[in-house]
Amino acid sequence: MEIVLETDRLGKRYGRNWALRDCSLRLPAGRVAALVGPNGAGKSTLLHMAVGLLRPDSGSVRVFDQPPYGHPAILEDIGFVAQDTPLYRDFTAEDLITLGGKLNRRWDASVARARLAQLGIPPRKPVGKLSGGQRAQVALALALAKRPRLLLLDEPVASLDPLARREFMQSLMGSVAESGTTVLLSSHILGDLERVCDYLIVLHSAEVKLVGPVEDLVDGHRRLVGPRHDGGPIAGVESIVKASHTDRQSTLLVRAGQPVDDRLWTVHEVTLEDIILAYLAEGSANASYDTWGVPA
């Protein structure tokens, strides 16, 4: 199995704060991976290091077995769309396609033209005057025209309305399915991901909480409902991700390597969204009471 992106104890620090720390993960080729986490979890930092914009402060990141920082040759194989899809606002879509041709050795302008024509995007209007959704589409078309082997998208749909979001995701999936491009896209909107992603990375507070293929993750987690739980071991359960209790009842989201066979507990299947929320809730910090000077 070919590994496209590999990080080993990767870290990045801004001043005294770690934006990303001890991040180790491997992204196999051909996957469409979601990078999930709340704002400030380190998603953009990870993507920027993957595309060589940032230099790691600790650990290593390798893309196609090369460290991206200081190796611009790798850029040929990476399509990158940064957060808020920045483009030269006074350039037209046509200009940007010409520009891409000048800056990239491998460039398929017809790919970009066909996409934008299909989406009805005006070629000779400055992109600053297009809607957010259209601009995101232009940025994606430019990234795809590089015919990248790895596509990195940083919150590509964050600023779009639900309809534009769905259209964007559909057109993205349509094009990467044909080419077999590996995709890593970050998002904090969960609903979009379940339909399209087959690999998941959950980041929280600068740390990786969960990595793996979506089906394994969904198979490996269960929700248990039963009598109030005192923390003792349950047969078949590896670890408890999240627990909530009422007076008499406990609901647990657990990681289970094998079927849970305990008559005390009712076992439910979980959705990807349940898992993500459980892992994100687990990490929520309440350290800020101190900094605000109020009692917890």
């Binding site: 920027h48 595309v51 060589g52 914009l53 940032l54 230099r55 200081g70 611009p72 850029l75 040929e76 990476i78 990158f80 940064a82 957060q83 808020d84 920045p86 483009l87 030269y88 606002r89 350039f91 200009d95 010409t98 520009l99 891409g100 000048k102 800056l103 990239n104 050795r105 491998r106 940025a139 590089k146």
Partner: protein
């Protein structure tokens, strides 16, 4: 890359061309008018031979200077022009990309950041250089009649700074400073403010503190009484200090020179100049006129070297921006 640079900056280039054209529209007619008057008053002959500097010449020069000295207000504009170029060409070059996030777009295409920076800096530098040379030559030509033996020395503060090769050095420096400031501050306003402060600070600092010391200044002493030694040796030169010193070398009256013809007495019946004590003499510290070009090259060289240094630092900084 060249295509991108041109496409991105063509509007700026157009505005710069318009600005230069407007400058030419002012400089050429007024320059020609000055030259006409200068010739009509017969001043070229006066200026050619300083020893025949007659009363008529003196009057003609005064007439000329009275008429055109108000134009010197324009000289202030010429002094801030390099700064303008630095603010509007230099500072936005990197800052605007970072402010709008487009650096993440352009630096992740197939061109390395170093190459991007080199091409951008080199093309903007070349355009700046061309504009600065045109402007430097134009202003040098324009202000030539204004620096005459009876008026302003071309070594004087305002005049030295707006002619010859120094405007080119200033402009290159201002642009490089703007570019560098843009790699340090990711916002336009602080970058422009830093460019303004840095440029003004270094220009004033160097002019006041360093320029008088580019070469050791010359001293000259003249007796108070008599025809005087070299009355015009310092014409067109740069007088740093002058005054009257007594026999032991102490300054007794600074900022004054006295030249008394033999046998002339003051109201108290003493020989003119005797009030300064026996053995007092005129003293002057100055740079002779022929040091004008060495000083120009030294100053332009300092600023150009700083510009190169700042651009190298800027390229290094660009690799740290994400």
């Amino acid at each position: 890359m060249m295509w991108l640079t041109w496409r991105q900056h063509r509007k700026q280039a157009l505005f710069t061309a318009i600005g230069l054209a407007a400058l030419a529209a002012f400089v050429i007619p007024t320059g020609l008018a000055m030259r006409h008057t200068y010739t009509d008053l017969g001043l070229p002959d006066c200026a050619r031979d300083a020893s025949e500097f007659s009363e008529a010449c003196n009057q003609a020069f005064n007439q000329f200077n009275d008429r055109y000295n108000t134009l010197l207000l324009a000289g202030i504009l010429f002094l801030v022009l390099p700064l303008m170029v630095g603010l509007f060409w230099g500072a936005p070059l990197v800052t605007r990309e970072v402010e709008q996030g487009t650096h993440r777009f352009v630096w992740t295409q197939g061109v390395s950041r170093k190459r991007w920076a080199l091409v951008k800096f080199a093309s903007v530098g070349a355009v700046t250089l061309a504009a600065a040379v045109a402007y430097g030559l134009g202003v040098s030509w324009w202000q030539e009649p204004l620096t005459n033996p009876n008026g302003n020395s071309r070594f004087g503060f305002l005049f030295f700074d707006m002619q010859g090769v120094v405007p080119v050095g200033y402009t290159l420096f201002a642009v490089a400073l703007g570019v560098f400031a843009g790699t340090v501050w990711p916002r336009m306003l602080p970058a422009m403010a830093a460019t303004l402060a840095g440029f003004a600070g270094l220009r004033i600092g160097l002019t006041v503190l360093a320029r008088p010391r580019y070469m050791p200044a010359r001293e000259v002493s003249d007796p108070l009484v008599g025809a005087g030694g070299q009355p015009y040796e310092n014409a067109g030169g740069w007088v740093l200090a002058h005054g009257i010193r007594n026999a032991s070398g102490e300054m007794v009256a600074s900022g004054v020179q006295v030249r008394c013809p033999e046998g002339v007495t003051g109201p108290d019946g003493r020989q003119c100049g005797a009030e300064f004590g026996p053995g007092a003499y005129n003293w002057m510290l100055y740079h002779p006129a022929d040091r004008f070009w060495p000083f120009q090259y030294i100053e332009a060289g300092i600023f150009t070297a700083l510009a190169v240094l700042l651009l190298v630092l800027a390229i290094w900084r660009v690799r740290r921006i994400a």
